[in-house]
């Protein structure tokens, strides 16, 4: 689980916080807010890419506020995927494991399993530049999940996709998240997305998180107790 307590961030003249937020293990949180409300800034701070002024970020009982980005165990998928263009899809996904010097057979196994799960197994030997937007997002998702992070941060991952691809990605995100059981915080400004995916939804307004409520729809379908099969 992740707990954010009184987090204050300053980026130039832009101020955010104090923010508090809590997500239980395996929950899918959706953070909504207008463009410019500081959603990306918040995610960057959670990743450790942006210094925080004050407050504490606790991940699975561990205070990660002072840790370097790579030590936090957070998988981050930025808006455009930010895939590494000179690496094949396979190496993009294996990258965190290569950096961690995992044994080769294990890397192979993890990569092919994830690729199958994400439906990108046929793309493994291609370069990301030629992939469609949806495919790129799947690869980015695979890359962020391959090292089994404690928390998955998605920064408007579907905003650049067409309507059809978006719908399939909803289901994929939901399935993958339930199967891997990773706590997820998904940033979006799309109400549809928030309603469909979120167990918990948060609103970021005027530098504050104003609501942190569960949607009215039946809870049992999104608690991850049952594993959807499709």
């Amino acid at each position: 689980m992740i707990r954010i307590e009184n987090l204050k961030i300053r980026a130039g003249s832009f101020r955010l916080g104090p923010l508090s937020l809590e997500l239980s293990t395996g929950e899918y949180g959706v953070l909504m807010g207008k463009t410019g409300s500081g959603k990306t800034t918040l995610l960057e701070s959670l990743c450790g890419l942006r210094p925080i002024e004050n407050g504490r970020i606790t991940l699975a009982g561990r205070d990660v506020s002072g840790l370097r980005p790579g030590e936090r165990g957070i998988g981050y998928v930025p808006q455009d995927g930010a895939l590494f263009p000179r690496m094949k899809v396979r190496d993009n996904m294996a990258f965190p494991l290569i950096i961690r010097k995992c044994p080769k057979p294990q890397i192979e196994k993890t990569t092919s399993e994830l690729a199958k799960q994400l439906g990108i197994a046929p793309l493994l030997d291609r370069f990301p530049t030629n992939l469609s937007g949806g495919e790129q997002q799947r690869v980015a998702l695979g890359r962020a999940l391959s090292f089994r992070p404690q928390l998955l941060l998605l920064d408007e991952p579907l905003s650049a996709l067409d309507e059809m691809t978006r719908r399939t990605m909803y289901d994929l995100l939901k399935t993958v998240q339930t199967q891997s059981g990773v706590t997820t915080l998904h940033v979006t400004h799309n109400t549809d997305e928030a309603e469909y995916l979120g167990d918990v939804s948060f609103q970021l307004q005027n530098g504050q998180i104003v609501t942190g409520k569960r949607p009215d729809r039946p809870q049992e379908t999104c608690q991850g107790a049952e594993v959807p099969t499709q």
Partner: protein, 291 residues
Amino acid sequence: MASSETKTHRIGSDTPFYAALIVISGMYLFLLVAMLMANAAFLVSGAGEPTISEEWSQANPWWAKVIDNPVGAALADPNIQYAIYLSLVSCTISTILSLWVSVPLGYLLSRHEFFGRNLLDAILDIPIVLPPLVVGLSLLILFQYMPEYVRESVVYQVPAVVLGQFVVASAFAIRTMRATFDQIDSRREQVALTLGCNRFQAFGWVILPELRPGLLTAATLAWARSLGEFGPLLVFAGATRGKTEVLSTSVFLELSIGNLNGAVAVSFVMIAAAIVVLIITRIWGSRDLTL
């Protein structure tokens, strides 16, 4: 009323716009091409004295055309041969040195906001805006403050050639590398950091593979600048035949003894080198990076 006004509004022809574009660009292009053609014509007209025997040239008229011209004669001159050799070596060394400097500086300027960045930026332009002779003079003065053994092994020696070329070439290489880093999405590097990299790993695994076209462009630019460098070298390295003589020095020396043929011939060698560099940059370098 409004609708009738829109109906009567007539738009003038676009022809003058394109005509102006074509005429002005064409004039400049003509100047460039004419310069090169004049050089070639001057050489082919065979203004120089014959360098091979009459009988031989009659027996092999085509070979004679190739060999019996000022370029052939210049290439046969050991001083020019040395100048070519020194140019190739010194330009290559100064290019490698400028790449070593331009990568970290380009990265720093492109990726980081820090106090004094604008000042640093301005300082790095000094070799570009300073008159070349002043660059040489400044280097000369700087070495007056160095210990004697350093001064004697650099000033008016081969290391001065490399240093003179390096100072100016780096300024251009840094500009190119900075533009290269500007074009590489910093988000990728940040993602690499979250995936478990330290800065060095993120740079080596993610950024370095993307630098190749930029590095090549910077290298060819630095090399071409170095090849043409003359002012700083004249002051700082001197123009001693067979010692600190590079191709640009050769042109100067040939001209100063009134040998126009020799000067043009050496220029032709340099033009050939420049064209090769231009082709390399166009084919393998980054198309978006220009200075």
